[in-house]
Amino acid sequence: MGALTDKYCIVGVGETPHMRPSNRTTFSMACEAVKKAMADAGLEPREIDGMTSYQAGDSTSSSHVATALGIRLNYSLDIVGGGSSTEALVAHAIGLLEAGYCKVIVIFRSMNGRSGRRMGGQAPSGPVPPVRAEGDAQFYMHWGWTSPAQWFGMSAMRYLRDTGTTTKAFAEVAVAHRYHASLNPKAIMRTPITIEDHQRSRWVVKPFRLLDCCLETDVAAALIVTSRERAYDLRQPPVFIMGGTARTMAPNSAWNYSRPEIHYVAGNYGRNRLFGMAGISHKDIDLISCYDAFTFTTLIQLEAYGFCGKGEAGEFVKGGRLQIDHELPCNLSGGHLSEGYTHGISMVIENVRQLRHRVDDACPGWAEGKHTYDRAAGCRQVKHARIAACLGWGTETTSSSLILRGISA
C-alpha cells in the first residue's frame, strides 16, 4: 500500500442543479456548491483554509469564492484543465495536507458549459467574426477538426477497425448510464433508452451518434478533502483515499496521434501505479466511475485500467455488465452522458455518496443510509458498495484516477 493510503478522506460534497441555462455567473454557482459541500461535511467557513479549482478560461477563482463566503485561505490555486482534473487535484490536495500547507481543502469546478463556453465549440448561427487559430489550433482548425467528438472519434474509428468492435458496444455504455440516470432525480436525461434507440440516433461525427455524446450543462460542484483524524469528527461517514494517479501522460501526446497505437491511452501507463498504491486488485472494486465524454471514452478506459484485455471491451460490456446489480456498475449518477456535464467532478461525488451508503435517490431514508434497493421505486444505491475506482479522462494521452473506500471496507 502507498505511504499515504487511507490517511486522507473526502468529507464533503455538494453541487448546484444541472441547468440549461443557469442565467447565473460561475461565481454565484461556485459559492452555492462550496456552501453545500461545507454543510454536507458539517464544516464552518473558518475551518476551510485551502481551495483549488480547475477551469478552461470559463470560470471564477478560488480567492473570489473564498472571499464571498468569508473564508481566509492559507492556500489557493486555480489550474487550467477539464476532464481528469478532479482526481489530479485530489492528489495535489493530499500533498498539500501532508506537507502542512493547509488543513482542510475545497476543490470545485463551476461552468456554464451550455450557455457560456461550450467545449465542443459554439454553434455557427448568423454572421460570426473570424476565429483566431493560434498555437496548436493553427494546424487543426482549418482541417475542421476542432471538437472533442471530432478528435476522439479518430481513435474510436481506428479502434473499431483494429478490434472488430461495433458501435453496439458504444450503445451498451449509453444504455447503462441512462438507466442509472433514470434513478437519479438530479439527472437531466431520465428516460431509459435501448440499444436500438442508440443505433437510430442521428450522427454527430461518424463514428459517434448523438447518444454517444455527453450533455452540456451549467453547473458547479465541490468536494472537500482533509485528514482522517479530522474526518472522524465530521458529519458524514468518511471516504478514504486509497490511491490515485494525477494526469498520467501517454508518450508523444501531441494532438496528431503520432503514436504507434492511437487507442493505447494514458490509463495504460497509470494502471499499475493506481492499483499498486491502493494495494488492491480489480476484483476488490465494487463500482466505478469512468469518464464518459463519449461512450467510447468509457469503453477504452476499461481496457486501459485493466478491467478487461486489449480489444475486449465490446464483449466485456455486453449484457448490461456496467449496470447496477451487475458485475461492474459504472457512472451511477448517469454520468456526463445522462446526468449532466461537470468535467468529471460529479462522478467522484457520486462515488463518495455510494461509499457512504447515502446516495440521494428516491428512498425516503437515504440521508440516514436507509435504502430499499428497489430499482422500480427509484433506489440507486449499490448494495455492498465498499470500494470504488474513479477513472478520469482528459484526452487519449491524459488520465487521472482514484481508488476510494468507505468505512465498511
Binding site: 455557427p124 460570426v128 476565429v131 496548436d136 475542421g144 471530432q150 463514428p207 501531441a254 496528431n256 492511437i262
Partner: protein, 156 residues
C-alpha cells in the same frame, strides 16, 4: 466532393515555431521538423527534438504522400467556415517518408477532397495545396491517389 471551406472565417496566426512551416505551404512544400543532431523527424513543429533534446533544428520536405490511418466524417459543423463543407471527411494520414527504425512515425490530418463514399482506412493519399483569400496562407488538403489491398471502411 465536400462543399467549399470559407477560409475567410479562420485567421491563422503563425508564430516563432511555425512561421517557416507556413512559408513552406506557400511554396507547396509539406514540411516536418527535423533534428540537425540526430536526424529525427516530427510534427507539429515543437521546438526541441523529442529524441535527443537538441534545439538545433531544420525542416524536412516530405513527398506529401501517405496512407489513411483513420478518419472521421463530420456531419454537424462547429466552425462557421465549415457550414457549406459538411459532410466532410477529416483523415489522419501516416506520412510515407517519416518512418524511422525505432518505429517512430509522423501522422498529420486534413480535409479530404473525396467524399465519405470513397474513403477507407489503408488508402494512399497525396497532398493538394489550396489557396485562401490571404495570399500568405496556403492550406494542405488531401486526395485519394490509388487503391490498396488491405482497406477497412465504416459501414454503419
Amino acid at each position: 466532393m465536400p462543399g467549399p471551406i470559407d477560409y475567410s472565417k479562420i485567421t491563422i496566426v503563425p508564430d516563432f515555431d511555425t512561421a517557416e512551416w507556413w512559408a513552406g505551404t506557400k511554396q507547396h512544400k509539406y514540411l516536418v521538423r527535423q533534428c540537425k543532431a540526430c536526424g529525427h523527424k516530427w510534427f507539429p513543429p515543437f521546438p526541441a527534438c523529442n529524441k535527443c533534446t537538441s534545439m538545433e533544428l531544420t525542416w524536412y520536405e516530405t513527398a506529401g504522400r501517405g496512407v489513411i490511418h483513420s478518419y472521421v466524417v463530420v456531419t454537424q459543423p462547429i466552425l462557421s467556415a465549415f457550414v457549406e463543407a459538411v459532410p466532410y471527411v477529416v483523415a489522419l494520414i501516416e506520412l510515407d517518408d517519416c518512418h524511422e527504425a525505432d518505429g517512430s512515425l509522423v501522422r498529420v490530418a486534413g480535409v479530404l477532397l473525396n467524399d465519405e463514399a470513397e474513403v477507407a482506412i489503408g488508402l494512399p493519399v497525396t497532398v493538394v495545396f489550396e489557396h485562401t483569400p490571404d495570399p500568405n496562407i496556403v492550406i494542405p488538403r488531401w486526395r485519394i491517389s490509388g487503391t490498396a489491398e488491405d482497406t477497412w471502411k465504416f459501414t454503419e
